[in-house]
């Protein structure tokens, strides 16, 4: 794939020579993406190469680039912080221009009173959180963590995290959006379109954002989002995020308005019950099942290792043999984390009391070791800032998520045993990390106010070992079979895998979905906003004759 000289020139004219490159090393650094090895031929770590990488500095430049892509029939693929195989070009046969948005990195405004901030695509969650906390405000950081782009999670991708339960999903939190469509129009949604400011995402009349910001978002397949306003929430903590401790386990002291707990329950039925009770009582600020991502068998030892900077993974074999760790592992088996925050001391004390009653009613308990200062303060920093999300990869550098079907806690608890059994089975041969079948992590609620959960199985494989990679791919296929044979729709793995499929296979799946009309509607939306088909198939559509 090479770029026509004239096209290169047109693009260079927009951004200047320093901000475009088609050097193969630059191309490769954008083709290289996590998860590629699970879906690409020969377990290659590279997605297809972009024909060039370009870095615009403004909406107008994005618009001009879009027009060039239309002119030369190139796919346009934006990336901001980009941490997935679908952030790169998808099909070998396409000429794809990678638009790296990192120069658009400003926080344009923080409206403290009205509780929103306006940001460009390369502002990451940690940056904005640090700034808004100075004003007593907070943001919903998505599960993928502090390093992610706010614009991406608000406008173009999932958008939930441990704080969604209280702070809302980023699809709820997004206010005005600025969107450069594939046909090159600049669309400003909600109140912004009327010139009335950024504060409202709906209307006038039907909400236009509905065509581009659905469950998943268009993941770069339907134009480029160049700015958005995001709703902020109250932060009843200190204005400075003053962590202490030695890396890697920094610790955030627990302010008097907060409580940080790791809780556990005796059964999955009790797990669902306690979730419902937490929802009904409206306690909690951050609510997440986090630490189990490292596996219910090895996880407890890992977290203690991480909290002692003199230790390494070499210590884990010995540790798991210790009787106290064995006990702790059992105590933590069905566990999750909750951070309570009170608007006042009375409020936090009452929440504490309610939590005790909820625990009593469900047979649950506070896990003592994980509620001690060191672990509680680590939990506090981990979940408040989500700066440790790369721990997803801690075992060996490769992790894939399976399951994660969203649903009510009662629904989720149905697939939990199947997911656990499946991982034990698939890891038995030693090609996947054997950290315990329950490596299930997920939000307390992915819908604001509670009611909706989902657990993702964290499956670790070695990206430097082909056989392990293949086992990862096989696990995903097995998880789909396990789900379907139990009457459950496929989970997250199906989306991962589909990146490697031919168009026809994807279309077959979409056509066989329960309401294929959805994808016909999306085709029509694409035809209306992307007549020259310059967006890639991350925005899924069904051909007319399917």
């Amino acid at each position: 794939m090479t770029l026509l000289k004239s096209a290169y020139q047109d693009l260079e004219d927009i951004v200047g020579p320093d901000y475009i490159s088609d050097d193969p090393s630059i191309q490769d650094s954008y083709a290289f993406q996590w998860l590629a090895e699970l879906v690409r031929p020969e377990q290659s770590h590279y997605m297809p190469r972009p024909v060039a990488v370009i870095m615009p500095a403004s909406t107008e430049e994005v618009q001009a680039i879009t027009m060039v892509c239309n002119k030369y029939h190139m796919k346009i693929k934006p990336i901001s912080t980009g941490w997935y195989h679908w952030a790169g070009p998808i099909k070998d046969e396409d000429d794809t221009l990678q638009v790296d948005l990192r120069r658009m990195n400003r926080i344009l405004e923080i409206d403290e009173k009205n509780m929103f901030a306006i940001v460009e695509p390369y502002v990451i969650c940690a940056q904005l959180q640090a700034e808004v906390m100075k004003r007593g405000l907070n943001i919903n950081i998505i599960g993928a963590g502090a390093s992610t782009s706010i614009v991406a999670s608000a406008c173009a991708y999932a958008g939930m995290g441990p704080s969604t339960y209280w702070m809302g999903h980023n699809s709820d939190n997004v206010l005005g959006m600025e969107w450069v469509t594939p046909s090159g129009e600049i669309i400003r949604t909600g109140s912004l379109g009327s010139g009335d400011g950024w504060f409202c995402s709906e209307g006038p009349g039907p909400s236009i954002r509905g065509i581009c910001r659905g469950f998943l978002g268009s993941r770069g397949g339907l134009g480029v989002y160049t700015k958005c306003a995001i709703k902020l929430s109250h932060w009843p903590g200190p204005k400075e995020f003053n962590v202490r401790g030695t890396l890697p386990a920094y610790r955030l002291p627990i302010h008097e308005n907060f409580r940080v707990y790791t809780l556990a329950v005796p059964s999955w039925d009790a797990w669902a019950d306690i979730y419902y009770k937490i929802y009904d009582n409206e306690i909690g600020y951050i609510f997440h099942r986090q630490f189990t991502l490292a596996g219910a068998d090895l996880g407890p030892a890992l977290w203690l290792i991480l909290n002692d900077h003199t230790k390494t993974l070499n210590d884990i074999e010995e540790m798991v043999k210790r009787s106290d760790i064995k006990e702790l592992t059992e105590e933590l088996r069905i566990s999750f984390q909750i951070i309570l925050a009170g608007r006042s001391l009375r409020d936090i004390e009452l929440q504490d009391k309610i939590l005790d009653q909820v625990l009593a009613e469900t047979g649950g308990w506070k896990v003592k070791r994980f509620c001690e200062d060191d672990m509680a303060e680590f939990t506090n920093v981990y979940l408040q800032r989500l700066g440790h999300k790369h721990l997803n990869f801690v075992w060996v550098g490769g992790y894939l998520g399976s399951w994660m079907q969203p649903g009510t806690p009662d629904f989720v608890k149905k697939y939990v045993p199947i997911a656990i059994k499946g991982l034990y089975r698939d890891a038995a041969g030693g090609l996947l990390v054997q950290c315990g079948g329950d490596a299930l992590m997920g939000c307390g609620s992915t819908v604001a106010g509670g009611g909706w959960s989902g657990l993702e199985q964290f499956v670790s494989y070695d990206p430097a070992d082909r056989e392990s990679i293949k086992a990862g791919t096989k696990h995903m296929e097995d998880a789909i079979t396990d789900a379907i044979s139990n009457g459950i729709p496929p989970g997250k793995e199906a989306i991962y895998l589909s990146l490697g499929y031919k168009d026809e296979k994807i279309w077959d799946t979409l056509a066989n979905s329960q309401q294929p009309i959805i994808f016909h509607f999306q085709r029509k939306i694409k035809e209306a906003f992307d007549p020259n088909d310059i967006g890639d198939r991350n925005y899924p559509t069904l051909p007319e004759d399917y």
Binding site: S171, C200, E202, P204, G205, P206, S344, F521
Partner: protein, 491 residues
């Protein structure tokens, strides 16, 4: 004509097809200034199949359909035919409560289900639905939510369409799809339910948020045949508090603070005229108004689920502390009306006649969204314009409803008038259009552009107009759904 009727008879049954002049007349107009046009028929389908057939037939014939779910009176012109030859699809027969699920706090209802119908049912399950301010008893819950009417508890308003979650839709093009999580499953809601797929997540399906397209659409894209709505736990204790002020500005910072802290449940701001109209009989309004302070903030607190008394206690104490910090005064009574009476009066559906009509028989509403700090400016515009046209400022009811947890605020002016007084009618028409224009010019965001507002709003926003027309073409390519509304004037 006869042929048409035969078709309609076949689809919904002859007894549910109406073309008698009286019925047609009733649907030809509402209390807005939108020009009356008589529909050709009024039909009352009973289910999704009939609606599907109607839509198919309407597409073939090019006959416009106007869905209506709530009972009269209507106010905003959105249900008034925009062209001759329309068929009103009155959904009032579709009033089944399909599911009430306590554990998941979700209900599935048909469009004809009204607030006065659902709330007592929900009480049996220990639930309730967050309501708009004093809706008329026959107001369809689904219609209210689809129109993004503001609800009283901003804390629960994580997103403006809340608590609306999933919808079943017959689109203008005749295709059926479900929005949100339900769009991932089969068309059988029972089947979905039995598989544990509860329609809670509002997003999607897939890359599109179809529900958001339907909100604010005034029925111009499709007909919603069912919807799931999230409920709250029914409080076991409730209390109301009042804070008086001489001017709106005195309450502003405090309102911001409460919103940020999410303290309490109901939170609204009303001027004395509005509150008097809410509380009094027609002949008491004037008196009551005189007795009331110029502005009142109403704050509701509730205790629900575990330890309700302590919840109330903590909220009350926190509120008391906070009020002091702002130099305000927390009252548990105002003009001698007991707390219970207050709760019954203002936190329920309206009694008959509809409260806004009590004072003069007619009322025009002007409403829009804004950030709170701009409200005083808009009040000033309202008052100045009223003065310039000799409309009594003292008659204007003002209602400020924080939404989206305080990020946006519904600002509403109620302009009562005597519909039988031609002079007053002319004046109010002039005032209505002049104020609307002025407000829009000054950045008031008319997110729900009814009637004459549509032109004013869309003329300022060419891009949104272009996008909306593209959307319309996809979901209602023959423009059969409620033509003439919003920016969908003609093909």
């Amino acid at each position: 004509m006869e042929k048409k009727k035969e078709h309609l008879d076949r689809i919904v049954g002859a007894e549910y097809v109406f073309d008698d002049p009286q019925t047609l007349e009733a649907y030809a107009k509402d209390l807005s200034f939108v020009l009356p046009i008589k529909p050709q028929f009024v039909v009352k389908p009973k289910d999704i199949d009939e609606i599907k057939m109607l839509t198919k037939w309407a597409n073939e014939k090019g006959t416009p359909l106007i869905p209506i779910s709530s009972g009269p009176p209507h106010f905003y012109g959105d249900t008034v035919p925009g062209a001759p030859g329309c068929i009103i699809v009155d959904l009032s027969r579709m009033n089944k409560i399909l599911r009430i699920d306590r554990r998941n706090r979700i209900i599935i209802i048909e469009p004809g289900v009204t607030y006065s119908q659902i709330q007592p049912e929900l009480v049996k399950y220990g639930l309730r639905v967050t309501m708009p301010l004093l809706p008329r008893g026959n107001k369809s819950v689904i219609a209210s939510l689809l129109e993004r009417q503001p609800t009283l508890i901003s804390r629960y308003n994580y997103s403006l369409p809340e608590p609306l979650r999933n919808c079943g839709v017959v689109w203008g093009c005749g295709d059926i799809s479900y929005t949100g999580h339900a769009g991932n499953g089969s068309y059988s809601l029972d089947e979905q339910w039995n598989a544990g797929h509860i329609p809670i997540d509002p997003r999607g399906p897939n890359a599109t948020d179809f529900m958001r397209l339907l909100t604010g659409a005034q029925g111009s894209l499709g007909i919603v045949v069912w919807a799931s709505v999230k409920c709250e736990v029914l409080p076991s204790i409730r209390k109301l508090f009042f804070i008086s002020a001489n001017k709106f500005e005195d309450l502003m910072d405090f309102s911001y603070r409460l919103q940020r802290l999410r303290l309490g449940d109901e939170l609204l701001l009303a001027n004395n005229k509005l509150l008097a109209t809410m509380l009094g009989n027609s002949d008491q309004v004037r008196d009551l108004k005189e007795k009331l302070p110029p502005w009142v903030m109403i704050i509701g607190i509730s205790g629900r689920a575990l330890l309700p008394d302590e919840k109330i206690d903590v909220q009350e104490k926190d509120l008391t502390d906070l009020v002091q910090q702002y130099g305000l005064n927390l009252q548990s009574e105002i003009v001698g009306i007991s707390n219970k009476e207050m709760i019954d009066t203002i936190l329920n559906p309206s009694t008959e006649p509809y409260w806004k009509l009590k004072y003069k028989g007619g009322c025009e509403d002007i409403f829009f969204l804004t950030t709170l700090e701009k409200v005083p400016h808009y009040i000033q515009i309202m008052n100045e314009t009223a003065n310039s046209l000799n409309y009594p400022v003292s008659d204007i009811g003002i209602y400020i409803q924080p939404q989206h947890q305080g990020v946006s605020n519904h600002c509403e002016f109620n302009l009562p008038f005597n519909p039988n007084d031609l002079k007053e009618l002319t004046k109010i028409k002039e005032l209505y259009s002049k104020v609307s224009e002025e407000l829009i010019k000054h950045g008031a965001y008319f997110s729900r552009p009814y009637g004459m507002w549509a032109n004013l709003v869309y003329n300022r926003d060419a891009q949104s107009t272009m996008v909306l027309r593209k959307i319309k073409k996809i979901f209602d390519p023959n423009y059969i759904m409620n033509p003439g509304k919003l920016c969908f004037k003609s093909l």
